[in-house]
């Protein structure tokens, strides 16, 4: 594997537009990694609480219940 200095030298040889595209890609991959870590943590908790096997329909019903509860509270009739 290249050292950080070697890698930096390669990057500085790129055109500015290519450098920007590279930086954008690195940011996107770092964001994805963060989301995957969060998904792993969330799924592990759901598994511990025996909620991971809930059907999509059950999940949707619960999300609907939460949505209407918040909306009724914030925008009372």
């Amino acid at each position: 594997m290249q050292s950080i200095d070697d890698l930096a030298n390669v990057i500085t040889e790129l055109e500015p537009s290519e450098q920007q595209a590279l930086l954008d890609k690195v940011a996107q991959l770092n964001f994805q990694k963060g989301l995957h870590d969060l998904a792993d943590k969330y799924r592990a908790r759901l598994a511990r609480e025996s909620q991971l096997e809930e059907s999509s329909e059950q999940v949707m019903i619960e999300l609907h219940r939460i949505r209407e509860q918040i909306a009724e509270n914030d925008y009372p009739a």
């Binding site: 920007q20 930086l23 954008d24 940011a27 996107q28 964001f31 994805q32 963060g34 989301l35 870590d37 969060l38 998904a39 943590k41 969330y42 799924r43 908790r45 759901l46 991971l52 999509s56 999940v59 949707m60 619960e62 999300l63 609907h64 939460i66 949505r67 209407e68 918040i70 909306a71 009724e72 914030d74 925008y75």
Partner: protein, 145 residues
């Protein structure tokens, strides 16, 4: 960082099915993986819903992540205007869905991505459009190299 060309409002169900990696809605996870090629608005109603669906430490991780990438994700703490909520309710949306549509219109976000069938069927010929995660993914394929 370059700002992505399109901004979409991802409904709470897209976030939740994506994070759960739900087998019935695999495209939700695929779409979350593409954030950065498009940017995302998270309005107050979705934040409140996520706050109830996720545990406090998960929500903390979520905020830490989105705050690191403001070019990708924008949080809006503004309540949706009441008159717009009423506008969408009068056109057949349930109140909660009307709040989401009102958030989108008030923030200038034209597209809502949702897996909620009833919501998807309600909004037609209105200032905001609703698309499924599959339609959103197809759209990405059109504007990305």
């Amino acid at each position: 960082m370059t700002t992505p060309p399109e901004r979409w409002l991802l409904d709470t169900n897209v976030w939740i099915f994506g994070l759960r990696r739900d087998d019935e809605f695999p495209t939700c996870a695929h779409l979350l993986d593409r954030i950065g090629t498009f940017s995302v608005l998270i309005p107050l109603q979705v934040l409140k819903e996520l706050n109830l669906a996720l545990a406090s430490d998960e929500m903390r991780d979520f905020y830490r992540l989105v705050n690191q990438y403001p070019e990708f994700i924008g949080l809006s703490w503004e309540p949706a205007p009441t008159e717009l909520v009423e506008f969408y309710e009068q056109r057949g949306c349930r109140k909660g869905d009307a709040v989401i549509a009102a958030h989108a219109e008030a923030s200038g976000t034209r597209t809502i991505v949702s897996a909620n069938r009833q919501f998807l069927q309600t909004i037609k010929d209105l200032p905001v459009e609703l698309v499924t995660a599959e339609e959103a993914q197809s759209r990405l394929a059109e504007f990305l190299p």
